[in-house]
């Protein structure tokens, strides 16, 4: 837990005594100012505009500064939530950001993409009072956005070279922590831009590239080096890394092959993975003036899946000019893994929700372009091993839907490149790297791993938590050598 803003600090006690809990709970939860749906679907601007300092301080005042803050237990990396919130209440925004940075490498990112309603905010005491929880996500974003770039000199890298495979959230988090420990860190990225899924996956209207670039620049200032267009396992081998003098390797190579359903017609033109669709638009600039990469044209678009990537794909298709965009999901809305806010935003933008429908076949025209999605209507049966009620087909309830673009967003499997290149590495049957959960160390003593390559599918915050934990244990192990 935090060391810089403990609960027993004098100022926090004064703050607690400033108002009664009754007065605090009487304050209305802040509302996030958003761009108007009709306007935002015409552009890529960030939908959530961020709250004002005044609104943030008012929201922070709602927080009761509980003696046993349950919100912290809901956070996968146990951020000192009351510690940063109370700093906002007293107007010490830079201090609030400093508390966040103690635990999270990329709070400006997490404040925007974490599923707070399932994590910290779900554990807020306000829920027990049947009131809306503290807007922890909004406050995190506020504090992170108001962070003043740290002026202190970077730690001198004197302890040897460390390689990071992948520049997504886990790799970035690891790199920052390892640089702080005095190691010379080089991050190798396969693509031509740094940031991994934060760049190719999450759209600008949800996470602007400028926010990601700010974090990357701050790592650069702290001595982290980035090498793009370099695939560890292809361009450089494990042996090459040793020859180059790297003492430790953190593998955060993330997701690999997109999953398809293996149903008839899935290879028709116009059926694409969400990875392909989002990469074309987000990373390659498809649809933007002057960029060469084409985007698959879609007037009537179906997006298969119910996660954040499905919402991102649907909302991107809307911004690319689709007239009708449908989310096709085999369970009900309640079971959707997407953040509530994204579901809400998607609906405001006119995305139609075809829940309890499962595609079973695609039909195309003579040129091989998809024209029809055949769906099986479903109903909810008994709960499955995930605890969610599993969908069961309703016999004979089959519909044909006219489509000209289908985006399949049903998940990805772990990236196979590093495991293929280093066969000695112990792998799970699911294709993930096996690590010691406490240290994130793999079966090879100089390789640590985290994020999607270990978890299969993880959230940004968990991936970052892995990076930080791996850095701490790698630094401890190397410092002993």
């Amino acid at each position: 837990m935090s060391t810089i803003s403990p609960r027993d600090a004098e100022w926090r006690e004064e703050l607690r005594n400033r108002m009664t809990p009754k007065e605090r709970t009487a304050i209305e939860r802040v509302k996030m100012p958003e761009l108007d749906p009709a306007y935002r679907v015409t552009c890529n601007e960030e939908v959530n505009q961020g709250i004002t300092a005044e609104a943030a301080m008012s929201e922070a005042t709602r927080c009761l500064d509980c003696p046993n803050p349950t919100c912290v237990t809901g956070c996968p990396v146990n951020i000192n939530i009351p510690g940063f919130i109370k700093n906002i209440e007293r107007g010490e925004f830079a201090q609030a950001a400093a508390v966040l940075k103690e635990t999270s490498a990329l709070p400006a990112v997490c404040g925007r993409v974490c599923p707070q309603e399932k994590q910290c905010e779900s554990k807020c005491i306000y829920n027990k009072m049947k009131r809306q929880p503290i807007a922890i996500g909004y406050l995190e974003r506020f504090a992170a956005d108001h962070e003043v770039p740290v002026a202190d000199a970077p730690v001198k890298a004197t302890k040897g070279k460390i390689a990071v495979v992948g520049s997504g959230p886990s790799g970035l988090s690891f790199a920052g922590e390892m640089a702080r420990h005095g190691y010379a860190v080089t991050v190798f990225e396969a693509l031509h831009q740094i940031g991994g899924v934060l760049k190719y996956g999450i759209p600008e209207f949800r996470l602007p590239n400028a926010i990601v670039d700010k974090e990357i620049d701050s790592l650069r200032r702290n001595g982290v080096e980035f090498v793009k267009d370099c695939i560890v396992g292809k361009t450089l081998s494990y042996d090459d890394l040793h020859t180059m003098g790297f003492r430790g390797i953190y593998v955060a190579s993330g997701a690999g092959l997109p999953r398809f359903m293996n149903i008839p017609g899935e290879n028709l033109i116009g059926v694409v993975s969400s990875n392909e669709y989002l990469t074309r638009v987000n990373l390659m600039g498809a649809g933007r003036e002057g960029f060469d990469t084409p985007a698959p044209a879609g007037r009537r678009v179906a997006v298969v899946g119910g996660g954040n990537t499905a919402m991102d794909s649907a909302r991107t298709a809307r911004r690319m000019g689709a007239e009708k965009v449908m989310i096709v999901y085999r369970r009900s809305e309640e079971e959707m893994p997407a953040r509530r806010e994204e579901v809400g935003h998607a609906k405001e933008e006119g995305i139609e929700f075809m829940t309890l429908n499962n595609p079973i076949e695609y039909l195309g025209d003579e040129r091989g372009h998809v024209t029809t999605m055949r769906v099986q209507r479903m109903e909810l049966g008994e709960p499955d091993e995930s605890g969610r009620r599993s969908p069961v087909p309703i016999e004979g309830a089959i519909d044909d839907i006219e489509v000209d673009l289908v985006i399949v967003a049903i998940g990805v499997s772990p990236n196979p490149i590093v495991p293929q290149a280093i066969p000695e590495l112990e792998m799970s049957r699911r294709g993930t790297i096996v690590v010691d959960e406490a240290t994130m160390r793999s079966s090879l003593s100089d390789i640590y791993a985290g994020g999607d390559i270990v978890r299969g599918g993880a959230t940004v915050i968990l991936a970052m938590g892995d990076g930080r934990r791996a850095a701490q244990s790698m630094a401890a192990a190397l410092d002993k050598e």
Binding site: A190, L191, H192, Y200, K228, D229, C230, I231, K234, T235, L236, S237, D240, A255, G256, L257, P258, F260, N262, E266, N267, I269, G270, V272, S273, N275, E276, T279, R280, M284, G285, G290, F291, D292, T293, P294, P296, R367, G368, V412, N415, P416, I417
Partner: protein, 260 residues
């Protein structure tokens, strides 16, 4: 940024580029490809590596100007830079001593065929090359092939050079003449389809190298998927080489037109 060291035109629309890429030169094997981005607003396109020089730290690419990106790349001159080159990607060719191997290619497919021909010869195979083109001027790398192979057969559609006929006529002639243990084919999808149909008839194992639409080239996007033996495979990570008798070429030909 990768500097272009040398550029030679094979024909009006086909250029051979020698590009600075020391790490790729060192790690590439026959069969590998790279993803190239011409400039900062460019596409990511796959190009098979035709040759490499580890001492000079260069790779050789043979590019036919047929689309937006290939035209941009062919317009570059020595001293200019490609925005990005990443690789080597895909699985390398499985080169083994099989006996007699026929390597046949058409168009720019002849360029990536060259390192395979060299590899097959080095592995101890009797190596026969069949080069095909519409007309004499479009036959490329003939001298290099003659240096590397035991025999080179040239086929032209119009009969202006070598024998008149298609690549399949040249391959069939060899199969009828002697025992062939393996065929390797690289070229336009339609050409590989007919080579596969021919060799299937004679039951000669055949490897083809597919060049599909790709975005990332590292297994993330799935744009390159093809059906092989009834299963969906990704050309970028499962290929680019497959058993030609099992590839659904009609589906591949259809998917190549996705953005036409």
């Amino acid at each position: 940024m990768n500097k272009i060291i040398e550029k030679v035109y094979f024909s009006e629309n086909v250029a051979r580029l020698v590009v600075e890429a020391p790490m790729i030169a060192k790690s590439r094997r026959p069969g590998h490809f790279v993803i190239v981005i011409a400039d900062e607003k460019g596409e990511r396109i796959p190009l098979t590596i035709a040759d490499a020089d580890t001492a000079k730290g260069t790779i050789t690419l043979v590019v036919q100007a047929i689309g937006v990106s290939t035209r941009k790349i062919c317009a570059l001159n020595p001293g200019d830079y490609l925005a990005d080159v990443v690789g080597p990607l895909g699985r390398a060719t499985d080169i083994q001593r099989r006996g007699t191997v026929v390597c046949c290619g058409g168009g720019v497919g002849v360029a990536p065929l060259l390192p395979i021909v060299k590899g097959m010869k080095e592995a101890g195979n009797r190596t026969i090359v069949v080069l095909a083109a519409r007309t004499k001027d479009l036959i490329i790398l003939e001298r290099e092939m003659r240096e590397a192979a035991d025999e080179v057969i040239i086929m032209t559609d119009d009969g202006s050079y070598g024998k008149q006929g298609l690549v399949t006529n040249g391959v069939e002639e060899v199969i009828l003449r002697e025992k062939v243990d393996e065929v390797v084919t690289i070229g336009p999808a339609i050409m590989m389809k007919f080579v596969a149909l021919l060799t299937k008839k004679y039951e000669v194992p055949t490897i083809c190298s597919l060049n599909t639409i790709m975005v990332d080239g590292t297994g993330m996007c799935g744009a390159c998927r093809v059906t092989v033996d009834g299963r969906t495979r990704f050309v970028c990570v499962d290929g680019p080489e497959f058993d030609a008798h099992k590839v659904d070429f009609d589906e591949m030909l259809m998917r190549l037109k996705a953005y036409n």
